[in-house]
């Protein structure tokens, strides 16, 4: 492919410009939400919860969880709301008429979601770092980055699938409230799964979000509930499989070109 004639860099640029123009809502709002979670949960639970055998304070434990949760939620929000708005407004036609291939559509949308997720994640980290400055000394930053990239790609893909499938905004909310939110909250953002009863521990191991959060946290502490290589393999596998599914959907034209 001759890169100078490719359309996807412009689609990526458009996706970035779109959320940048409403950054109050797309970046600052989620940072504030995460900060509120931190203030409330750490205040209430700091003295009562012990994690990783007492080697890490609860506040320090919570911050990477909140960062990753923000990355995941905002990656999903970016693709799902962008594509859904285009479908509802009818301006999706501007993307369907040019010679953009399914791979270009997928790459540009998901890359846009990853950037939004990472920008919000960095924002959350920057404002919460004040409460646990020791987090800056990460033993394995590469691991954290790998999980952030793969996690945001997974949620970006899920957002695309949700918006392709949905016919109204209600259905996007349903996707978010009944799938994304429970999986995120039950993934160990707020607690170490070792503090759960055995049944819930087992169930947590079936939740791919658990591996994203746990692996991401490994980058900060060198400690985790599951072996980081296992987590990485599972998360990378999910990202790969979901990419294939999303590409196949785009290629089929399902609900977009009918």
């Amino acid at each position: 492919m001759n890169l100078s004639r490719a359309g996807w860099p412009t689609l990526l640029y458009k996706e970035l410009l779109r959320f940048w123009k409403v950054s109050l809502q797309t970046i600052l709002a989620p940072v504030l939400t995460a900060l509120l979670y931190l203030l409330i949960f750490s205040h209430v639970l700091e003295a009562n919860v012990s994690v990783f055998g007492g080697k890490v304070t609860y506040t320090a434990f919570l911050i990477p969880g909140l960062v990753m949760m923000s990355v995941l939620q905002n990656s999903f929000a970016n693709t799902s709301s962008s594509l859904m708005q285009s479908k509802i407004n009818g301006n999706l036609i501007f993307i369907l008429l040019p010679p953009l291939s399914p791979l270009e559509l997928f790459g540009a949308y998901v890359a846009g979601a990853m950037v939004r997720g990472l920008v919000v994640g960095i924002g959350v980290f920057a404002v919460t770092l004040f409460f646990a400055p020791s987090l800056l000394h990460m033993p394995h930053p590469g691991w954290a980055l790998a999980f952030a990239l793969l996690g945001s790609a997974i949620l970006g893909s899920l957002g695309l699938i949700a918006a392709i499938w949905a016919e109204k905004f209600d259905q996007i909310s349903a996707f978010q409230n009944f799938l994304i939110m429970p999986l995120t909250f039950l993934s160990g953002v707020f607690y170490s799964i070792h503090s759960l009863p055995p049944f819930w521990q087992t169930l947590s191991h079936a939740n791919p979000f658990f591996y994203m959060i746990d692996g991401f946290r490994y980058g900060f502490f060198g400690l985790s509930d599951a072996p980081p290589t296992t987590s990485l393999a599972i998360v990378a596998g999910c990202a790969f499989a979901l990419s294939l599914v999303t590409l196949a959907i785009l290629k089929s034209g399902w609900k977009l070109r009918y």
């Binding site: 860099p9 412009t10 407004n89 301006n91 501007f94 008429l97 010679p99 070109r257």
Partner: protein
């Protein structure tokens, strides 16, 4: 002269509706081609298939020889479509909208042409205005600009003047005519038949997913060399009812073949005791050709 747009036996069904039922036509490069038909005739479906927005159940469509499915990149580069719906992206300004559309086609250094488009479409004062703040007519101009931003050889305009003021209509047609003179192929669908009559060299008429007429404008007009009687009356004599082309609040348009038929119509009115409010004879124009074809009369002649 080579073929700009070729459609071969294209069929498309939506649920129980056969939107297109074996449509074939070829438009040559440089033509100004009209695609006419009542609502639901399949015009927009056909355009959507050319643009790759809809997939045909059967048949082939090619733009400049490029199949719209298997060589969609080349086909879409050659095609510019002005959609019927007045759509826009509320996040961007007019210039951003055009630059982004240009980039989708891989043209990232297109400023000179975008400036020219803004100028021709009288959008220069609005170039940095947000799309949301534009009037309907202005938004329509931006849509035209977006369709032309990659200088396509073939330009499809789907009802471009619906709801557009007279001034814009004139300036739009001046611009489109200029593009046509420069060698661009134009395909136009419109409800304003006088527009089609003034602009198009050749015309295809669609009805219920089928091509019912496809000929030069002159041939279509001369094929129905008959006259049209415009009659204002309470009703039309029973025997003449099948020849009513259109009726609207006591005004009837009745097709006749020659002047002699007028005498028979007058006699029938007298016998049935129908008072004549007004009566006028009209030359055939495209609207009457259209009404005759769509009414079923002259269908065989058209085929």
């Amino acid at each position: 002269m080579s073929i700009a747009v070729e459609v071969v036996n294209v069929a498309r069904r939506f649920g129980r509706v056969q939107a297109l039922d074996g449509v074939s036509m070829a438009v040559e490069e440089g033509e100004f081609f009209g695609l006419l038909g009542p609502n639901g005739a399949g015009k927009t479906t056909l355009i959507s298939i050319l643009a790759g927005l809809t997939r045909a159940d059967a048949g082939k469509a090619r733009i400049l020889g490029h199949d719209v499915v298997t060589s969609y990149r080349a086909a879409r580069r050659a095609l510019g479509v002005v959609p019927q719906e007045l759509v826009f992206d509320p996040f961007f300004t007019v210039r951003e909208t055009l630059e982004i559309q240009s980039g989708y086609f891989g043209l990232r250094d297109n400023r000179a042409w975008i400036d020219e488009l803004l100028h021709h479409l009288d959008l220069v004062p609005k170039a940095d205005a947000n799309m949301r703040s534009l009037s309907g007519g202005m938004k329509r101009r931006v849509l035209v600009g977006q369709a032309l931003v990659h200088k396509p050889s073939v330009i499809v305009l789907d009802e471009p003047t619906a709801g557009v003021d007279v001034e814009l209509r004139q300036s739009l047609w001046t611009f489109i005519r200029k593009l046509n003179r420069e060698g661009h192929t134009i395909i136009l669908t419109t409800h304003y038949l006088e527009e089609a009559e003034a602009l198009c060299g050749r015309i295809a008429m669609l009805k219920a997913g089928k091509v019912v007429a496809l000929d030069t404008k002159q041939n279509l007009l001369s094929r129905f060399a008959g006259l049209t009687v415009r009659l204002v009356a309470e009703r039309v004599p029973v025997a003449w009812q099948p020849r009513v082309l259109r009726q609207d609040a006591g005004i009837f348009l009745i097709g006749i073949d020659r002047y002699g038929d007028l005498e028979m119509l007058l006699a029938a009115l007298r016998i049935e005791g129908i008072a004549i409010g007004e009566l006028a004879l009209q030359e055939t124009d495209l609207e009457q050709v259209f009404l005759r074809i769509m009414g079923g009369q002259g269908l065989e002649a058209a085929q």
